[in-house]
């Protein structure tokens, strides 16, 4: 069988990353390696993985076969084995396809974006390492293998955020991302260990766990589901571990597009979907997940309305969209959530790449209020950005409309009306802040300088066009039956619990109209406030929203500083002045008692005679007392 090719989907980018890494070290140490060599290895890897993934996709059409390849036994302890195994079912192959495809486009874009960077090779070294880890994450056949990819993506994300490491702030952002992710990973490990303890005896992979988790008591399942979700919170930047995502924008823009928008941050959603057999057993945890998602979505959208940095607006919007996905998967609409992961990958990658193009064109300006009039200067970027903005706002027939509509439908039909209201309200905000961005950047008149725009190479603009087409078409794979379409994604991902079928068609139509109306309302407000935005100076913002509700500051004071203080206290007060003092005190006590005893040996004959006398009298008194 050709199942071993599954491993090669992961291995190709991994090997390419390794080769590029070695070449890069060679190039900085010995002789310069031209950029096209790096590009050759860097760009071919995602394409090859995509083709391999596609071949599995073709084999899967029309049947429910699950491809499993166990490469070797990773460890074997006490009769329990863990294999290095790869599994491709419809969910993971679907993820592989869009990760490699979008990843490939972003690679092409990056080859233009990073063209003049001296760390060009290093960039692709990290980038392909990320891709390999991400593919391992989705193809792992069990939690442990998934966790390897899970940590791998976290690590490469850290490397890429700190990419411009000369600036300490970027490194700080990288550390923050890694540590916040580690808190999540801690939850993941706890969940894995618990799962192994309660259900690992028949094999610790997804297929076996599906069966063996059925016999585990519900409180334990709740604990597992909750701990796993802590991992998802960390990776997918939900409340309360989201703080790293906005700072993660310190990395190069292609990184933000690939890792912090299209792929890695959706790993949490993927994980919940992958563990659907677990979450089906514990709907109360699912509801909790949905609420965390909804609150995160709203919270991020509110913050996004006041931001000025183009990439941070998009970062908060990513967090907000991830919240939508969690609403869906939390309520059991796994295919709906994955559908939004899919459409979101297209339009959010496009938004970031468009933003990157604008940033490059304006010589690395990121404040939207220092931009303006880009519509005339870069019409192609404008046009593609417009499509992506329409898509994220939920205007039909663009991709985001269908997936967002289904999420809200899921919330409504599950009877969670509060979630639905939050979702609709967030949709208004989404349309508002996205069009605010669009109007200010492309229509505004703030940018007055006649500095020549930086040239945008073809490698940067072509992917924009392809993704724009994707942002228009991606939604059509999940057209609701209401509109005469066939929900391809629903039927592809199979017979998961999907509650969206319990409402009447008329309700469905009303909900759809409400969604469209919400989006239009948001656009209208943005139009009123920001169309042809003209302001002589960059506005100065104040207030709690602009300051992101002071969450960073609160964390700093309550956690970061406290830990630092505590460790300084332990280190200098307890360790040096208490524990070591006792130890040294003991040893000095010996020395001191030695000194005292030494005084007896003072070579003074009278003293010796005196002690002898005392000794003899004591002994004789004793003897007299005893013998009497």
């Amino acid at each position: 069988m050709s199942n071993f090719l599954l491993a090669w989907i992961v291995l190709i980018p991994f090997i390419s990353s390794f080769i590029i890494g070695v070449m890069y070290l060679y190039s900085i140490k010995v002789a310069r390696v031209p950029n096209f060599v790096f590009s050759l290895f860097g760009l071919s890897a995602p394409l090859l993985s995509f083709l391999l993934g596609f071949s599995f996709f073709l084999q899967m059409i029309g049947n429910d076969e699950i491809f499993l390849y166990k490469a070797y036994r990773w460890l074997e302890i006490d009769g329990y084995d863990i294999d290095m195994g790869f599994m491709a079912d419809k969910l993971s192959i679907f993820m592989v396809l869009f990760i490699t495809f979008v990843g490939w486009l972003i690679h092409i874009y990056a080859s233009g974006y990073m063209k003049d960077d001296k760390g060009y090779g290093k960039f692709f070294f990290y980038f392909n390492f990320f891709l390999a880890s991400m593919l391992l994450l989705v193809l792992g056949h069990g939690p442990i293998i998934m966790f390897m990819g899970w940590e791998g993506v976290g690590f490469s994300s850290y490397l890429l955020i700190s990419y411009y490491y000369e600036d300490g702030e970027n490194v700080k952002a990288g550390n923050k991302a890694f540590i916040a992710n580690r808190v999540g990973d801690f939850g993941f490990i706890v969940a894995m260990v618990t799962m192994f303890y309660y259900a690992g005896s028949n094999g610790f992979d997804f297929l076996n766990l599906k069966e063996s988790l059925l016999s585990v008591p519900v409180p334990v399942l709740t604990f597992i589901g909750f701990s796993l979700f802590v991992g998802a919170i960390g990776k997918s930047a939900q409340i309360p571990l989201f703080v790293w995502l906005p700072d993660a924008m310190a990395g190069p823009t292609p990184v933000s597009a690939l890792i912090h928008a299209a792929t890695m941050v959706t790993a949490g959603v993927y994980m919940v979907a992958r563990f659907h057999f677990l979450y089906d057993l514990i709907p109360h945890v699912g509801l909790f997940i949905a609420y965390v998602g909804a609150i995160s979505a709203l919270f991020a959208a509110i913050i996004a309305t006041k931001q000025t940095d183009i990439k941070k607006i998009l970062a908060y919007s990513t967090m907000s969209q991830l919240g939508y996905m969690f609403i869906a998967v939390g309520l059991g609409g796994y295919s709906v959530g994955i559908f939004h992961v899919f459409t979101h990958a297209f339009f959010k990658a496009l938004l970031f790449m468009g933003a990157g193009a604008v940033i490059v064109a304006l010589h690395h300006e990121q404040n939207i209020f220092k931009m303006g009039g880009m519509k005339k200067k870069t019409p192609l970027v404008y046009f593609t950005m417009l499509i992506a903005t329409l898509a994220i706002s939920g205007i039909p027939p663009f991709a985001g409309f269908f997936s967002k509509d289904e999420i809200l439908l899921t919330a409504f039909s599950s009877g969670e009306y509060l979630l639905w209201i939050i979702g609709v309200f967030t949709a208004i905000l989404t349309a508002y802040y996205m069009f605010r961005l669009l109007f200010v950047v492309f229509y505004g008149k703030n940018y007055k300088e006649d500095k020549k725009l930086h040239f945008l190479p073809k490698s940067m603009t072509t992917p924009l066009v392809i993704l724009a087409i994707g942002s228009i078409l991606a939604g059509f794979i999940g057209i609701p039956e209401l509109l005469g379409g066939e929900n391809l994604i629903g039927s592809w991902l199979g017979n998961w619990k999907n509650s969206s079928l319990h409402v009447t068609h008329s309700t469905e139509i009303i909900l759809m109209v409400i969604n469209i109306f919400a989006a239009l309302l948001g656009i209208f407000i943005a139009y009123k406030k920001f169309y042809m935005y003209d302001m002589k100076e960059v506005p100065i913002f104040t207030g709690i929203v602009w300051n992101k509700f002071y969450i960073d500051e609160i964390y700093d004071t309550l956690i970061v500083h406290k830990i630092k203080q505590l460790s300084i206290f332990i280190s200098y007060k307890i360790d040096v002045h208490f524990i070591d003092k006792i130890v040294m005190g003991l040893s000095r006590g010996f020395i001191r008692s030695g000194h005292y005893i030494a005084k007896m040996q003072n070579a003074n004959t009278r003293f010796y005679a005196f002690t002898m006398l005392i000794g003899i009298s004591v002994i004789s008194t004793y003897l007299i007392m005893v013998l009497r």
Binding site: L75, F178, S567
Partner: protein, 508 residues
Amino acid sequence: MDHILSLIIFFPLLAGIAGFLVNKDSIRVYGIVVSALEFSLTIALWIGFDNNIDGFQFVEHASLISNFGMSYSIGVDGISLFLVILSTFMTMIALIGLNIEKDAKNLIISILYLEMTMVGVFLSLDVILFYLFWEFSLVPMLYIIGAWGSDRRIYAAIKFFLYTFAGSVLMLVGILYMGYFYFQQTGIWSFSIVDWQLLSMPFNLQLWLFGAFFLAFAIKVPMFPFHTWLPYAHGQAPTIGSVILAAVLLKMGTYGMVRFLLPLFPDATIYFLMPIAIVAIIMVIYAAMVAYAQEDMKQVIAYSSISHMGIIILGIFAINAEGITGSIFLMISHGIVSGALFMLVGCIYDRRHTKNMSEFGGLAISMPTFATIYGIMLMASVGLPLTIGFVGEFLSLMGFYKVNWLMTLFAGTGIILGAVYMLTLYKRSFFGEITNEKNRGLKDLHGRELVALVPLVALVAILGIYPKPLLEPIDLSVKKMLVLMHKKAVLPDTQDFILKVNTIKGGE
């Protein structure tokens, strides 16, 4: 192959004595060749080792003082095999990386002598022999720290010596009493571990003897609150001393726990399990916090060692195959990783003559290869999956989960704290602009250093991706020991406990 173990123990000693005759200029080559031969002997041992036998192999036995049952008795099983290989491997690597010119001859001979004692500790089956090697190992280390260390080397060396010596004297009392007890029970004297392990002991006696042995091991590990000698020793020791101290010498303590405490005193082990586990968890968190506050790069790694040793102890006192096998694997992985880290600190110390992180910054710009290897080792140290560090840590935690899930959670926070202090170290030393002009023209790693470090990097990756060859023999011997513990426990509660922590729910 009959006498390969004796050869492995005494070859470094004989070569060391012969080393006095070697010319001063060629002594380093001589040392490397000897240690490489010694390493290949242990590899030959591994090749000859039968993975399907759970007991001792290559056993050699010769009576020394037959009246008192003291004998020259050595053997190897899955538990000790890889620790022996680790000792010879790290000695070789440390000698390759050595760059001290002053009195190099004496230093290299001391190292070879130290190698003999380390290997001897892991291979001894006679407790008196074990104790001899155990104490002998102090002498070369005292000399290495005291003669080649930094400014306060004498203080550090004496503190190291007296502290660990004080602990082991108690162990000697325990050993002698144990021998006497064996004589009382059976009418013959024996100091063989194999004999002792078969002897059932009353609960009260177990408690006392456990205490005497435990203190010696706890100081060696070093367990909180007996750890204060370690930062001094590391702070003052030359690079090669730190490498061997961290990589191998500390493992003698945890090895002793596995080899003596568990099989000899099973009831006492269970009795003291909770307090020890609590101390281990305190140690994990405490040492991580202290590491975070350090300014000196070497101290960060020294305290991180203590933190990792806490996880190892936790794994040992899980009393199940996952925990103990995992902790032995963690001993090996920590040996490789901490050895590499101390060596890397040595590389930068040679160039800048400081270990203070505030003096660095931007090293990644001037020394990219150094930064890369350092980064890989750092990630192995924080336990990133697919590096060597993850396997042991994960298995140890998984093992202890069966004992107590809540405590495992606390120990698991070490995963987060480890990332905090290590990333802070990396950020302060390697990232950012070059603020100190002295760091600008630094030379990157050169040939000798690369030869020493690249094998370590390769091992970190290979054993992380494919740990099974090591785990298999360890697991087999550990399981045998667990059966023995279960069999000889005198209290029914102990037996129940051992059974409980060795089964997982939902099975059978």
